[in-house]
Structure formats: C-alpha cells, structure tokens
Symmetry: C2
Subunit: 752 residues, 2 copies
C-alpha cells in the first residue's frame, strides 16, 4: 500500500446522499477558522438560507435538517443568540464561492453529466482536492481540478485554485466568484448588516456585522490565466464578480482565489479591513509556493509530535490519522478565550459549545503531544470562572459551577434542563483535568496562579450541593452521571468519586501552597476570601461523601438506586441495531430502565484505575457492557480500553472498529453534522492507554507501558511528551521500546 | 348585611394594578362562550396584539406577560397551534368594543378624571355593572353606567347597554362601537382571514377564519336613544361604526349593543352568518326584557341546584358563590366535544386544555348538582379515547394513555416533558371519576356502553407500563404523583393505589357485564378485541402492584424512595411566604428535596378514606403538612378537608381562608390569569366533604354526613343529587337535617 492510502481520505464517485457526510469529514481549518468540505459551487437544490425555528431536543436523537448539504464557515468566538437554543457559533458567510456556467448550463454535481469524480483530503497538509470531467449538454468536455487549503501558518488565509482543461469542444465559460452571506445558522439569521463589494480588477470583499456587534471581513483577490473582464454582480447579501472567456480544445484556464478573513475579535491591532489588506498583500508578496511551504511546514511539525504509526492495519492507520487531523485542526493555540467545541467546529448542530469532552476525552491527547494546547484549554476554564460563578449563583449556590454546555463566558447554554441541571460532574471533570495537566507537565505554577481559584470555588459549590443524610453521610442526589439515560439518580458512583477527588485536591493544594509558598497562599486567601474553617469543610465533605459499592457482588453500582431501575428486554425492543437504541424507546421508559447510553462506571475505572482490582474491573465490564447501548459516541473508546486492559482482544478489536466507524462510516454518514471530536480523542486514548497500555500521568510519575497490540498489528509507534521530556514509543508484538528524544536514553520492556 | 353583599363581587374604585385580576374574576360566560371582564373601551396603553414567542415554562412559576390588561374571548373548541406550546384555545375577536370620545378626549379609566367608580358582578344572573362619573378636561360631567351579560338561555348572545347621563356641561359625544380582531393568543396570531363590515343602519359584523379553518362570525345590532349618523370606520382587523350626538346637562343617552356569535363548530344547522342573523332577529323579536328574563330564569334554576348557603360567615358565603358561579359558567351542557379547562375559560395562560382537575376536583360538584354535566365530562373522555390510544402508541404501549394536558382530540399537549411523560395518574383518575359517576348516579348503562372501553384500554396501558421486579412485584417507576415537585419517584403511593383501583374496576366491570349481560359483554369483547387471558393479566397486575406503606411509622410514604430525598430548611430558604416556595429554590434542588408542591398522600386518603385509620390520617397530616408548600392551587382544599376530618378546626378554617384567597385575593391578584377552577371545585368539596362531612358516593350507597362546622357558622345548607334523588341538607352547629325533595322523607342526625 502506498503512502497516499495511509494519509488520504478519499471519495470515489459522487453520491448526493453522502455529500453532507463528506462536508463534515473534509472540514478544513487551522484553529482560527474552519470551513466544511462543501463544493465551491454549492448544490443548486440545497439553499443555505432556509429560515426556521429549531427547537430544543435531544441532539442524539434529533432528526437533522438539511438532508443534502450544509455549508459551514466557523470562527471560534463569533457567536450569536438563538431565542430557544441560546448562544450558538455563527455560520459565517461562505468564502469559497466559485461557479462555472457554460452555454446556459451551470456546473452542478447532481444535475450535470460528471465522470471520473474523485475527491480526497490529504491529511498531511489538510489540502482538499477534487477532479472530474464535465461533459456539457452541448458535448463540450472539461477536466476540472480543484485544490484548496486553509493556511496553518498564516491563519487568516484561505487559498483556492481551480484548473479547467478543455478535452473537447469549444465555448464561452462564465466564471463567477462569490462571498455569500445568504447563510443561516440553525435557521437563524445572525447578520445585522452586510456590505458586499466587488472591484473589477479582481477583488471582492464582504463586510458583515453580526447582531451581537462582531465584524467579520472577507477580502478575496482573484488571479486568472485568461482575460476575464470581471463585472461586479453583487446582491444585497453577496459580493460577486462575473467574467467569461472563450475556451477550446487544449486550452487550460486557472482561477486562483486568495481570501483573507479577519474579525474584530482577532488579537492583532488595526481595523478588520486594514488587517485583511495587509494579510493579502503579504501573501501575494510571498507567492503561492512559499505560502504553501509555510503551511505545509506547519502541518509537518504538528504531525511530528502527534502522529501515530501503525504497521499491519492500514484502515486503523488512516482512521487514527483522520482523528488526529481533526484534533490538530480544531485546536486554537495561544487563544484561551475559546476551547474546542463538541463537533470540532465542523458543524452547527451542537452550537459550537464546550462540554466535558474537552477535559475527559481531548485533554490527554494534547497533554502528551502539545502541552501548551492543554494549558490553553485549562486556561479557558480559568477565564470562564466568572461565568461558572454566575451559574452557581443562578442555582442558589456559592462558588463556581461549570456549565454543562459552556458559552464563551462560561454561562450555561444547555436548553434541555435535565442535562443543564443534573449532569453536574462537569465541574469535577475540570478539576480532574487540571490536576492531570499539572501532574503530566509538572507546571505547578499554573496550579498556584490559576488552578487554586478553580479548586476553591468549585469546592464551595460542592459543599453547597451535597445533602447530608441523617447518618451524617454526604450525598449527591438528583444526579445525571456520564450515562445520560438515567438523569435523576442517587449518588452516581462516577460523580461522587470525582467530587471527592476534587475536594481532596483542593485541600491538598491549599495545604501545599500554604506550606511551600506562604505568601502565595496569603494572596490566594485574600483574593478568594477564604474563610476560617472552609478548608476543614472541604476536607470533611471529601471524607464523608458516599462512594457506592456493593461488597457482596463486587460490583460498583452506577448509583445507589441503580438496582431499582427496570430491566430491559433489548432483543424485543431494539430491532435494528444500526440505529440508536434511543429511537426504539420513549424517553419516559428509557429514564427508568437499565439501558445505559454510555460508559459510566467504566469511565470511573478508567480515570481511577489504581483504585479497582482486576476482578472489579472484570465484573464491571461483564455487568455493564451488555446493558450499554453506546448511543453516545463517547462510549466505544472507553469500552475498548477496558476490554484491552482485560485482554479481551476480540472485544477490544470490535470496539476499535466502532470507534473508527463513528466519523468514517458511510452507512451512518457519521460526519454529516460535524466531527465527533471526543471520539477522536477517544481513539488516541484507546491506542495509547489501551493498546500501548500507558499508565495515566495522573497516577504514575514514570512513563509505564503494558502493551496489548490488536491481532495483526506489527508495530505501533508514537511520541509522548511526559513531564517536560519527549519520548518515542515503539511497540511490537511481544516487545516495546521507549526512546527518550533529544539525548534521552532508550528503555525497553516486554509486552504481555 | 343585605342580599347584595352575599351575591355581588365588587370593585370599589379603580386601580390599574388590579385591573387584570378583575378581568379574570369578572369573566362572564355560559358554557358556549366566555368573555373576560375587560372594559368596553379597553385600556389605551395595553394593546392586545403584541406578538411574541411564549416559551414552554413552569406555569406556576412563569412570570406572565400583559401586566395591566388581557382581554379574552373564548369559545371552547376553537383552537389553534402554537409552534412551541402546541394546541391552544384561541383568544377570539373582542365583541364588547364601545368607546366614547368628547372634545378630543377619549374615555380611559387611567387617563381621564374618573370619580365614583364602582363595578360589580352580580352572581345571581352573571351580569356585570359599572358606573362612574367622567369629568372631562373641559369640565363636562357625565354619569356613565354600563351593564352587560352573556345569555345563559340564548347562548350565542352577548347583551350590552350603556347609559350616559350629563350632569353638567355640553358637547358632542362621539361613540364608536367595534368588533376587533387585533387580538393575539399568547403572542400568536391565529387568524388567517378577517372580514370586517359595518352598515350605517347600526349593524356590524366580523367574519374570522382561523388558520385551522374554523369560522367565527360576530354580528352586532346597535340601538341608540339619539340619532347618531353612524359612519363605517373599519380597519383591516376591526369592524367599527362611529357616530356622534350633542348632549347637554340633563340629557341621557342609551347605547345598546346586541351581538350574536356563531362558529362552524356549533351543532345547529346553517351557515355561521344565517344562524347569527336568526339569533339576532329572534332576540329583537323577544325584546330586551324577555331576553333578560329568559337568561335570569336559566341562572335561577342553576342556582337552585348548586347554591350553598352559609349563615354566620358572609365572606365565605360570597366566596363560595363566586366559585359556584364560575363552575356553572364554565360548564357546557350537552356538548361532550369539550370539557372544562383549567382556567375556567377565563384566561389563555393554560391554553384552554383539560387536566386531571376535571375528574378529581370538578366532578364531585357536578355529580351532586348536575349529573348530566358530570356525564358529559366523562363522555368527553370517551370521545377522546382514540387520542389516548395514540398517546399510548407514541410512548410504545398498548391501550390508552390519557394526556396530562389534553387537546380536543385527547392527544398530549403538555410542552414540558416531565409532566407529560411522568404524571401518569391522570389515566387512572379518569377511571376513578368514571366509577364515581356510576356509583353516584347508578347510570350503569353508561358504564356498559362507554365506560368499559375506557376501562379495558387503560388497563392494557397499565399492564405495559408496570415493571416487574425480581420478586414478582409490580412497580411503577419514574412517576410524578400529584406532587409535581418530585417528578421521578418509585411507586408513588397515590398513583399505585389509583392504578390498582383502576385495574380492579376493569376486572369487576368485565365480570359483572359477562354475568349480567352476556350479549353486551360479547359485543364489547369483539369491539375491544379482548384476548383470552387479558382479564387475568389485569387481575394479576392489580393484585401484585406494590402499595407503599411503612408499618413501623404508620406513615404512607409518598413514594418508595421518598425517604431518600433531602430535608429542606424552609425557614432559611423561604423568606417571603407571600410568594410561592418555587421562587426561592432552583428546580434542580426542588426536584431532590422533600418540599411538596401540593397534597399527594392526603389526596390519596381523601379518595380512599375507608382504607385508612384515623391514626394513619393524623400521622400523614402531621408528617406532610409541614413540608407542603401549597404552591399548587389544588392543595389547600385537600388539606382543609383532612384538617376538618381530624377536627383541627383552626387549621381547617385557615385552609378555608387560603382556598377563598386563591381567586379573590387582591394582594396576589389571584384571578389575573384566569380562574383556578379546580380550587372552585375544591371549595365545594371542602364544604360538602369537609364541613358537612358527606361520605363520598364512591364508598357509600346511602347519604351519610358527619358535619363539623367552622366556628361562627350558624347554618350551612345545600342540595345534593344522590343516586337519582335530590336532597336538601341543612347543617347547624350540633345538628343536621337531610330533606328528600319531591316527596322525600326528612332524616335527621347529630353532628359531632
């Protein structure tokens, strides 16, 4: 198999029914901006400006709109308000517009006679290519080749090039390039003002003001290999230039479009317009080749740290790279005003919000490949601490309560109250991630400067949130754990353990800081208004908080009341396993049944592996796996890791397949609404924690491995950043090697 | 105290802040149509056509719109669709419009100089009177006197009359009469077409087509004592006639407006227009006096059956009559396509839907004062059985599941899933009411013809809804009982007992019918496709369904998991008892706390009094009363009855005050959003079941009383229909008398 097959996601032949899936899968971006993999010319029967009122619903089970195509242009941080769904990332004007028309026939993948259609996303440099032959009704044949990328080095730039080679016939080709603001986000118009402009020298601009007051400026410069006689063809919402040229057999037309995108939220100085102009002129000075080289070099250096190499399983190789690609793309370095949204900025379905996925599913990847990015993700939570304080106050509590679905400011955005109100573990998940970061990097300064505020404020919330029963035991009632199919449980094992950990870490941090840096502690105590007795309250609550466990069966019950839920006869209910179980049962029934949406106790055991014996892990897996529906994309990877730890190789391999299918499956059109970015992080964890058997940096100072490669894998290798050092790890069946980079020593061991 | 004080609800002096309350309290109607007690001229600063999107919310805690005035014109059965809130009764065009203008000054209660303002609703005939003196800026003084009623005899007619007497000054008075369709329902426009028309002979009409396709036709005829030279002054949405006349000191102008309202849902033949014309011409033939006499006679005969007389407590006397007035007004006789909505058709806040209140709170009053009306209410449930079947199917169950908030067709309309999904007792409540009706009336034919379908179909649903635990005990999990502050409980004592009763009654009905009327049973079995073994399943489920009880404490727990909820420190949380507790606690916390919204176990004991000892009742009252917030208007009456049964006279009197305050309190503006019609029924029950101590017809074949009059009550008397007979009951302190009407014998006893 050649290298391309291990690096390129391919679409061979166009199928309208799969288009939306590929739009998501082929999303390009650089952290600053993201554009779904739509066609430059769009789809003529899929308008992007349909207005409707999307209602709050269960996003897992909701039937999405836009069956065929939904374009997407997202800049993290540019958001608007939806009357029902609250804050949502705005789907911005479409930058890619480039349309062809020949003798009255508009190029359209569905309506025209197209042959030899191929499209592929090259994961190495994130470039998207498309080629096909267009045979017009009048018999003219054109070979069309598209290429585009969003620069990883010059993050405001979007670069496109199209080549049209005439294979047969002659005619006048009309070219129309656009910047289009006829775009709605979940049916809403967020644009208050649109100013399109087109200069016949070959330049387009679109200035957009959102209802929230943000400015977005798009400036395109066109280069064509033929004289086009550009004519402005603007509408109220679209900047457009239209031109045409005569072509005949053997002719070759190249159209290049270079677009700079700026907003008033950018951290650079100057107006949006002046910065876009500067970007564009600098790009033109650099020239196309150097522009590309800077971009490709940037990707290369990212891949050097992040890549995972698998020999012996090409599908897994390509799949893991697809996941890593989207993880790398989604991360915005150096800007902790935003984090990574649940759909990896590849769709509007989840509103561009931040969930617990960030801390639990994504963070480990960044911790060990790009610690600076991990730091930024935690800094985002520090930056939104005031929002979390407001959330706590809104619920009547002291301290800080992180939002189940966080806005930019940290305030709760989830429109479904059962999640917003009851899925409280997010607040402890953030503390877990904070501690994980500190332990994996040794960045104690972060803990002392920022972390302690998060620790103390969330500890205050927990002390208010705990109920004390008549035996003096602390309880968390009315809790939805990670398993979202049981929303109102008593003492969810996962949540209670995480909260206990969170309180313990708060006390330890206060103890350590006071002992090691009394001035630092005094400053924190003043800043946070720490009262006498607070630390004792945290300690007491941590000590007395109940941890559900059934010593008789050795099962950790998902919650204290878990046994009282109804058994489910899956065989009779779930008649089509290709669809989520949730489609076959009413929410009412689901909420009282032992049918788990996703891993819950297993997730607990993954995060606290040292606290459970192999027997307990085995018992939990045997008990919970058969009643888990995996309706959540967060479930399969966790199960895969546990199966791997239990050396259940067949099950682990099966979960690996499920994990890979979540975004890649054509049958499920997995990426249609965006990328399941948590699952991308989950795949990294399945390979690193599961197959390579890395002990979490939370629980081990030294890098420890216990590899269990899937059948057929000949070699697995990747890099790991570990407490300030970098290592290359190579695992082969029966053996592994850890090579410290930059003068490090190789250590070796034997896999089980 | 004179008779008027015992029969008239009065407003002395106008206060803008109380206007909306009086609009609700002074609602007039006749079952066919209902009009809120708004001013004929409206309020100039309270437009009725504000458009907005009302969101699903907790109606108890929601902050209502329209602080000052919301007109309301409702015809049960004329409904529209709201995009978020589903089916809602449409607020129809305003029929009452009558405006005055004098020398550029428009009459407005807020903006003009008004003195001697009085308004009163005469409960005897449901007529609303208003009088005041209007002193214009130019110094003219006019004594204005308004009177109006909606005919109880000729139900399509609305009759208005205004007299203007000039006390001082002279000028030209402009009179404008209107039919206005610039009306929105909860912010929505439901009118697809509006055709206003005005004839200068003094006639107005407004034809309205709703988006659902219903036609509403309003036709007004005007009579004036002066020549007015009417001019049409229509707008797109309003039919209007404008005229004027000169007036001077001593002059007296009378304007009469007689309006016929018809719809395409009426059961009479002919077009809406032809029927309105017929109604109107017949009314004019009858003349104003005879028209009024027919109306007044109709009210008189209703009062004869329904009135409760209290000597020694004038406030209670007036208050109970206000409740009885709204109960009588809300009931539409002879039309079982509709029932009585939760706000007694006196406001749009609850969308005109049907809740469990009908069966549990209203039915007893109708059973014993107007059995035909009770029958109609049950027939409505029979008529909507298909909707209930669809509800069951939507949730994945067999049989029929009545809607928590029923549409006209019986389908679920509740936009808040926790109620719709989990407050399932409604389905059993309907069966309880059905049995109550049959026992109180002896109408077995109803049971055999209609009731059995309800019984069998709901029994099927229950058998699917029950979960079986590993000990073979039937359980109802994930249940919200009457107490809506604990939505997801295990085995709610009220619900489980009601379901068990429902299943038992189904089996008994099948047994009896098969034994007594084999042909009837065979027909039902075929119609309902009763399978072999089904009856055994019903019987088995009834037998094995768990009934929570704690034999140690003798407390009936509200649910099996009740003890596991958190105790609430009410003193620290509920700092202002004049506002609902729900305003002081987040829903999240409320849902895990022992803070009851309303009676739950006490309601159970009220419905099954023979199953609980006095000690158990006492223990339940002592346990639950202190933790019940009475945030629901359904709670106080139940508590009052139980307090009365326990001879806790002070508490009973206190609950009587609360019950009376619910609609009448000026402080709480109780009636602003409509009448708490369930509480009206509750007041009847408090007096009849509580103070008179009537044993429910469900549990006694003979009429039994155990009176316990409140302090100061010298005499309580009322009529009771009982198994086909009618009785007059008179209770005095220490004695009571039951007098059988129409040749019945008096029986006497001694009160405790």
């Amino acid at each position: 198999m050649n290298d391309e097959n291990l690096w390129c996601l391919k679409e061979n032949g166009y199928q309208a029914g799969l288009h939306k899936h590929y739009e998501g899968l082929f999303t390009q971006g650089n952290g600053y901006m993201h554009v779904r993999g739509s066609f430059e010319e769009g789809c003529s029967d899929a308008p992007q400006d349909e207005e409707y009122l999307r209602f709050p619903d269960n996003v897992t089970l909701e039937k999405p709109r836009h069956p065929k195509s939904k374009q997407g242009t997202f800049i993290p941080g540019i958001v608007g308000q939806h009357p029902l769904l609250k804050e949502e990332i705005i789907n911005l004007p479409y930058v890619l517009g480039l349309e062809f028309r020949l003798a009255g026939e508009t190029l359209d993948m569905d309506r025209c006679r197209i042959s030899g259609y191929r499209r592929w996303l090259d994961l190495r440099d994130g470039s998207l290519q498309r080629s096909f032959i267009w045979e017009t009704a009048e018999g003219m044949q054109l070979q069309c080749t598209y290429s585009r990328y969003i620069s990883m080095a010059d993050t405001h730039l979007c670069i496109q090039r199209v080549q049209v080679a005439v294979l047969a016939g002659e005619g006048r080709l009309e070219v129309k390039t656009t910047l289009r603001a006829d775009v709605r986000t979940n049916g809403m118009n967020h644009f208050a003002r649109i100013v399109p402009s087109a200069e016949t020298v070959g330049s387009l601009s679109l200035e957009t003001l959102t209802e929230e007051g943000n400015q977005i400026f798009m400036l395109s410069a066109l280069e064509v290999s033929e004289v086009m006689n550009w004519q402005a063809d603007n509408t109220r919402t679209t900047a457009a230039l239209r031109g045409e040229c005569s072509l005949q057999t053997g002719d070759r037309l190249t159209v290049s479009k270079l677009t700079a995108v700026t907003t008033d939220r950018d951290m650079e100085e100057g107006t949006v317009r002046s910065r876009a102009c500067t970007q564009l002129s600098r790009a033109r000075d650099l020239g196309w080749e150097q522009l590309y080289n800077r971009h490709a070099d940037s990707w290369k250096s990212k891949w050097q740290e992040a890549d995972i190499r698998i020999k012996g399983d090409d599908m897994a190789q390509l799949s893991v790279r697809a996941s890593l690609y989207h993880l790398i793309r989604s991360n915005r370095e150096q800007d902790a005003r935003v984090a990574i949204c649940a759909k990896g900025y590849a769709g509007e379905a989840y509103f561009g919000r931040y969930f617990w996925d960030t801390e639990i599913n994504l963070l480990p990847f960044f911790l060990h490949t790009n610690p600076q990015a991990a730091r930024n993700l935690l800094l985002f939570r520090y930056n939104t601490l005031d929002g979390a304080r407001r959330n706590a106050r809104n619920y009547g509590y002291r301290g800080a309560r992180y939002a189940w679905e966080s806005s930019l400011s940290g305030e709760e955005q989830c429109a479904n109250w059962q999640y917003a109100d009851h899925e409280i573990h997010i607040t402890a998940d953030i503390v877990y991630a904070l501690c994980h970061y500190v332990r994996a990097t040794g960045d104690n300064e972060f803990l002392e400067r920022y972390g302690i505020d998060i620790l103390v404020e969330t500890a205050r919330y927990w002390c208010d949130r705990v109920d004390w029963n008549r035996e003096g035991v602390g309880e968390l009632l009315g809790v939805m754990g990670p398993d979202e199919y049981l929303p109102f449980t008593r003492n969810n094992a996962f949540t209670n353990r995480m909260v206990k950990f969170s309180l313990e870490q708060t006390v330890a941090c206060m103890d350590n800081l006071e002992g090691g840096n009394p001035d630092g502690y005094a400053a924190a105590a003043e800043r946070l208004d720490i009262r006498p007795g607070e630390r004792e309250l945290f300690r007491h609550t941590a000590e007395k908080l109940r941890l559900p466990y059934d010593s008789q069966t050795e099962i950790v019950p998902q919650s204290d009341d878990f046994a009282s839920y109804a058994d489910v006869d899956f065989a009779s209910l779930w008649t089509d396993r290709s669809r989520p179980f949730g489609h076959f049962i009413s929410q009412e029934r689901n909420y009282r049944s032992k049918a788990l949406k996703q891993a819950d106790v297993l997730e607990l055991m993954l995060l606290f592996p040292q606290e459970f014996t192999r027997e307990q892990l085995k018992a939990a897996y045997a008990y919970y796996e058969p009643i888990t529906t995996h309706d959540s994309s967060l479930s399969a990877a966790v199960h895969g890791i546990v199966a791997s730890w239990l050396n259940q190789k067949e099950a682990a391999a099966d979960f690996l397949q499920r994990v890979m299918a979540i975004d890649l499956s054509l049958e499920k059109k997995g990426a249609a609404e965006g990328i399941h970015i948590a699952n991308c992080g989950g795949l990294w964890q399945l390979i690193v924690y599961g197959f390579a058997g890395l002990t979490s940096a939370m629980w081990s100072e030294t890098l420890q491995l216990q590899p269990r490669l899937p059948e057929g894998w000949e070699e697995l290798s990747f890099r790991i950043a570990w407490r300030g050092e970098r290592y290359r790890i190579t695992v082969n069946p029966g053996a592994y090697e850890v090579h410290k980079l930059k003068g490090g020593n190789a250590i070796a061991g034997t896999a089980i």
